[in-house]
């Protein structure tokens, strides 16, 4: 299409041959991006003057956060622990449940196309649902508190680990699987002894990675009342008590950093 409107340039080489050089697509892309930016500016009422005039307000808030309020530490401790425990339970259950779902979504394990389609659609819908939205729905069903947050994390982990796991199952070597089937094992047994050991290291590594991300997500789930440290953030920001917010953020940063370091160490060992 593009080449028809802007025909390729003909270059005659010194030896008489002609070669076609396709026109660069960069200007077109540039115009599209520029047009998109312009439309977005109109849509979102982006106003540079406001930014220049009131931009310092943002740094006023950051200034208030430093130094953080150290005496706030004892009241942070329990919600922070709740947040971590929510992520641990949600991630563990989610990655366990993801095994059967991934089995159902792998085309080389299940020959029935309908089952595969349904399992994949289920995973896609769960994955595209933002965690905060599923947490919000969960608070309506399970009440305010840590249970709703755990359910939201469980659903996200199930979708994320499930998707990566079924891709790994499809890429696994089927040689041992076929050999075991031929000596009379059922498909599930053969999966357990031939495929599962192959995907296990990657599966554990993905679950750990997902857990890392979940600690960050869990931190904001409290905003919709799903338990954990987000509640404190919400209160602090609502009352403009920025020194406490600073303390919460500092503790959060330290926790996330520690968990990432530990998890990275184990993930390197696994692969």
């Amino acid at each position: 299409m593009f080449d028809k409107i802007f025909p390729p340039e003909k270059i005659v080489l010194p030896n008489g041959k002609t070669v076609l050089e396709k026109r660069s697509r960069t200007p077109l892309l540039f115009i599209i991006v520029l047009l998109g930016t312009f439309l977005s500016i109109r849509f979102t009422n982006f106003d540079f003057n406001v930014l220049v005039k009131r931009g310092h307000e943002f740094f006023v808030i950051i200034n208030d956060m430093i130094p953080p309020k150290w005496d706030y530490f004892p009241s942070i401790w329990q919600p922070l622990l709740d947040t971590i425990m929510m992520s641990i339970l949600g991630s563990t259950l989610g990655s366990l449940v993801s095994i059967p779902v991934a089995y159902l979504a792998a085309t080389n394990m299940i020959k029935n196309k309908v089952v595969v389609m349904v399992a994949r659609l289920f995973l896609s819908i769960l994955r595209t649902m933002p965690t905060l939205v599923s947490a919000l729905i969960a608070t309506f069903i399970f009440g305010l508190g840590t249970l709703a947050g755990t359910v939201a994390i469980f659903l996200f982990t199930l979708a994320y680990v499930g998707k990566l796991l079924y891709e790994q199952i499809e890429n696994a070597s089927l040689d041992a699987f076929e050999a075991m089937e031929s000596i009379g094992m059922t498909r599930v047994q053969a999966f357990r002894y031939a495929i599962f050991p192959q995907v296990l290291p990657n599966y554990l590594s993905t679950s750990l990675f997902c857990f890392e991300g979940n600690v960050r997500y869990a931190a904001i789930l409290g905003y919709v009342g799903a338990g954990g440290i987000g509640l404190l953030l919400n209160e602090g920001l609502g009352w403009r008590d920025y020194a406490s917010v600073g303390m919460v953020l500092l503790m959060l940063a330290i926790t996330v950093f520690l968990i990432e370091t530990v998890s990275e160490y184990f993930r390197k060992k696994l692969i």
Partner: protein, 268 residues
């Protein structure tokens, strides 16, 4: 004992290590069960769950296919605009920061300080930025754009740094030897190596930003999140259904498009 068994027993044993790690893990998981309060689940839970499912299955089609400023289509467009502009600003801010933290471009101390700054920017949750920026611009999509821009800096810069540190420097040496000026070295030596990677990272981040933008409405920063939470709080599950369906379809389409584009870019 045959050869296979011998080989099996020759494998290094680290049982104590495995037992200790397993014990810690099981302890953590069991401990976490006690933290979760199962008491809070009310009896009305099942009725609400049923209503939600009914609402999602029978969405409010008028709202879904409505093109006025209240309709789902307009809100989705606004969400896309927030994510798009946010990504563009984020990329523009992240590029200089990425060069400042690449250890093969600037001296070590500067790269360390920039990296620390990036880690701090990354750990603060997006909702916190949203709430802080609303104080600057007032509620509305403008705050959403700024939030998305700041949130994306952290990850974009981190991925950009990896691309910059992988630059093939032997090209510069050969360009110097044939007498290229600094500008020519940047134009023909650096930019062609980086554009594909940078574009692919930018598209990936746009995909993620769309999800972020859809929840920022919860704090009043524009997009589809605010109508969603209003509809939920007033138990209008049909509206919730139509908003969620629109959102899920949009995110799925963008995800498929982004995967295709990135595959094309990486393969050249």
């Amino acid at each position: 004992m045959n050869a296979i068994e011998k080989q099996l027993y020759a494998k290094p044993r680290s049982n104590v290590y495995i037992y200790i790690i397993s014990a810690i893990l099981i302890g953590l998981i069991i401990g976490s069960v006690f933290v979760i309060d199962f008491e809070s689940m009310g009896n009305s839970g099942w009725t609400i769950a049923k209503n939600i499912l009914l609402g999602i299955v029978t969405p409010d089609l008028d709202l879904l296919l409505n093109f006025t400023t209240q309709g789902v289509m307009y809100l989705l467009l606004e969400t896309i605009a927030i994510a798009f502009l946010g990504t563009i600003i984020g990329v523009l801010l992240a590029i200089p920061l990425a060069f400042l933290s690449a250890s093969n471009v600037v001296p070590k101390p500067i790269s360390w300080i920039t990296r620390l700054l990036l880690i701090v920017i990354r750990t603060i949750p997006s909702l916190v930025y949203g709430l802080m920026l609303i104080r600057v611009t007032g509620p509305g999509p403008f705050a959403g754009v700024l939030t998305i821009a700041i949130v994306s800096i952290g990850m974009l810069a981190k991925l950009f740094v990896d691309a910059i540190e992988d630059l093939d420097t032997s090209i510069f040496e050969s360009m110097t030897s044939i007498g290229c000026t600094t500008f020519e070295k940047i134009r023909f030596g650096i930019i062609p190596q980086l554009t594909a990677m940078f574009l692919s990272i930018g598209i990936y981040r746009f995909d993620m930003n769309l999800r972020e933008a859809s929840i920022l409405g919860l704090v009043g920063a524009g997009g589809i999140g605010a109508p969603l939470i209003f509809a939920m709080n007033s138990y209008r599950w049909n509206e919730v259904g139509s908003i969620l369906i629109g959102l899920v379809i949009l995110i799925l389409i963008v995800e498929i498009w982004s995967n295709n584009m990135r595959n094309k870019l990486v393969r050249g």
